[in-house]
């Protein structure tokens, strides 16, 4: 449930206002806000938990760099919230751990040999890095 102190809106140029649903609760936002901005307006922090330790995170860079704004949007997991314009009726919930499935992390596999089973994503080892 949204419980953090929300970001506040200054007087803005006129535009349309739309309603999104953050964890099921209606929130009025400005047309043009990103899904990550909507989360900050609603006070949904943390907005995701990490894969490794389950610790809470929230949008950090707002420019597509850090991937801390991953959200579940309209049922799709791991959507980069700051790069996703919000639209009327959008359902946004926090992203819980699940490493992947929609936007796939191929960062360590070659496209030519793209492993379409997402294998390198699911077999996360908890190895001791000093070994």
């Amino acid at each position: 449930m949204p419980n953090a102190l929300p970001f506040k809106r200054l007087t803005t140029n006129s535009t349309e206002w739309i309603t999104v649903y953050i964890e099921g609760q209606p929130v009025k936002i400005r047309q043009g806000d990103s899904a990550a901005a909507a989360v900050l307006v609603a006070g949904l922090q943390p907005s995701r938990t990490t894969v490794v330790s389950g610790s809470g995170r929230a949008p950090y860079c707002m420019m597509g760099v850090c991937f801390e704004c991953l959200l579940k949007i309209d049922g799709v997991e791991n959507v980069q919230g700051c790069m996703t314009p919000a639209c009327d009726g959008m359902q946004i919930v926090s992203q819980q751990q699940a490493r992947q499935l929609n936007r796939t992390d191929f960062s360590d596999s070659d496209l030519s040999s793209a492993n379409l089973s997402n294998k390198n994503l699911t077999d996360k080892k908890n190895e001791d890095p000093s070994v």
Partner: protein, 462 residues
């Protein structure tokens, strides 16, 4: 499959991309801009086509200067494709990108990378807590949504953007608890030798001083010589306190939002993936692609302009975009060498003036060591949760570079693909091995440089 061919493909619609497009179109080139954002402007002129804030005094005239670039781009004959994520570029300049969930390919005769800067990662204990954001993030929220952070609010770090966002928030009536300046002692002296050159850009220096005066008059508590930042959580996993040291005293302040900043660095994800030659910039403490004076990279036909080629600021990016576009037009036979030199003389002079101030700013605001080589307990890889201590441990075990520590710890392997740990990991390894950072290198970046769905890849096969 028929692949559209363009004379010039520009990636990014910030100042460099916008001005390059306008210039190139004056030569009749067939141009397309692929932009990650939903509207032109890049980060510096974000939402300039539809600014959120009603009161234009808040962001100031420098922001609205972006309108002139926007107008020039609109009059130009350019295909603009917003919301396009480039994920691969092949050596023959075929470019794969996805847009609205669909993948496509185009071919370029010349490619201009104008992907701008990202903020330098600012690792310190607790920087991953919800409530800690970058100053750039706060500025983006202001520009595109008119949103201001929850109070109590503290700003901590070093550099011109820190001062600018503080002034903008203050003008917007946002209460700022404190500005904690982490610029190390002695920097003013060190940067003095670069001051004479900086005087060539007197207007910018005067603006900087103006910002400092504005902040001073505002009465906001301004603390110098701050070090040892540590963000502490409350019972709910959120940021609740900031601990820091000043004059060997440890202080603690309550805060809900902490905005951090340690300057910006070139966004090298794409230039790295293309395996262009890069060099280490010692003064700016970052990597940048090696370019000739026209912005052409080590691979003929691929150009880089603006901050992605080395940090010089928005105005410099604008002039560099123009220069580069002229050069490209010349290479494509649209003008001869002589008119090239004539037509670029003015932009060249303006660029030189912009660049003259950089060494002074870079020397003054070089981040303190604690942010370049953070303490053992600090997470350096936010995605895979690897600490500085773990990286040091791996070096002790014989790891000599970032690709090895990556293989052992997954640092750099998460969704951000090393964007937020690449610099730090390399600097820690260099420091432990007592060798220059350039000998340690950087992550090997492979395509796709942005995560993709399987469907998007499949599109290409059709």
């Amino acid at each position: 499959m028929n692949i559209p061919v363009y004379d010039l493909v520009i990636i990014g619609a910030g100042p460099a991309g916008m001005s390059a497009a306008a210039t190139a179109s004056s030569h009749g080139l067939k141009i397309v801009i692929l932009d990650e954002q939903t509207a032109p402007g890049g980060q510096i002129y974000r939402s300039i086509s539809n600014p959120a804030i009603a009161d234009e005094n808040i962001l100031g005239a420098d922001y609205y200067h972006g309108r002139s670039l926007l107008t020039a781009m609109r009059y130009a004959n350019v295909d603009y494709l917003p919301g396009s994520i480039v994920w691969a570029v092949s050596p023959d300049l075929s470019i794969s990108f996805s847009r609205a969930g669909k993948s496509s390919q185009i071919k370029a005769k010349k490619l201009l990378i104008a992907t701008g800067a990202q903020e330098r990662p600012v690792p310190f204990p607790g920087w991953t807590l919800p409530g800690v954001l970058t100053c750039g993030a706060a500025q983006i929220l202001l520009k595109s949504s008119g949103l201001t952070p929850a109070a109590p609010l503290i700003l901590a770090g070093s550099g011109p953007l820190l001062l600018l966002i503080a002034a903008q928030l203050n003008r917007a009536g946002v209460e700022i608890e404190a500005i904690l300046d982490t610029t190390p002692k002695g920097r003013y002296l060190k940067s003095l030798r670069y001051l004479p050159a900086a005087l060539r850009n007197l207007p910018l220096l005067i603006k900087g001083v103006g910002l400092l005066v504005e902040l001073k008059r505002s009465g906001i508590r301004y603390v110098n010589n701050v070090s040892q930042l540590k963000a502490l959580p409350g019972s709910n996993q959120l940021l609740s306190k900031l601990q820091y040291s000043v004059d060997n005293r440890i202080e603690t302040s309550s805060c809900t939002t902490l905005l951090v900043h340690q300057g910006v660095v070139p966004n090298v994800q794409l230039t790295r993936a293309l395996q262009l030659e890069h060099q280490w910039d010692e003064l700016q403490q970052c990597w940048k692609p090696s370019l000739d004076s026209w912005g052409e990279s080590s691979q003929a036909g691929i150009f880089v302009a603006g901050d992605s080629g080395g940090i010089a600021g928005a105005r410099a990016a604008e002039y560099m975009g123009e220069l580069t576009a002229q050069r490209i037009a010349q290479q494509l036979g649209k003008l001869n060498k002589e008119s090239l030199l004539k037509q670029t003389a003015k932009a060249g002079r303006l660029l030189y003036q912009q660049q003259a101030i950089r060494p002074f700013l870079d020397a003054m605001y070089q981040p303190a060591d604690e942010f370049l080589k953070p303490s053992d307990e600090t997470l350096v890889c936010r995605c895979e949760e690897v600490t500085a201590g773990q990286i040091r441990g791996m070096v002790a075990q014989g790891c000599t570079g970032p690709n090895q520590t990556k293989a052992f710890s997954r640092a750099g392997m998460g969704p951000c693909q090393g964007r937020l740990c690449g610099l730090t990991v390399a600097q820690i390894i260099a420091d432990e091995r007592k060798v220059p950072v350039k000998d340690v290198g950087y992550y090997k970046i492979r395509s796709p440089i942005k995560p993709l769905t399987i469907g998007e890849i499949a599109d290409l096969a059709e």
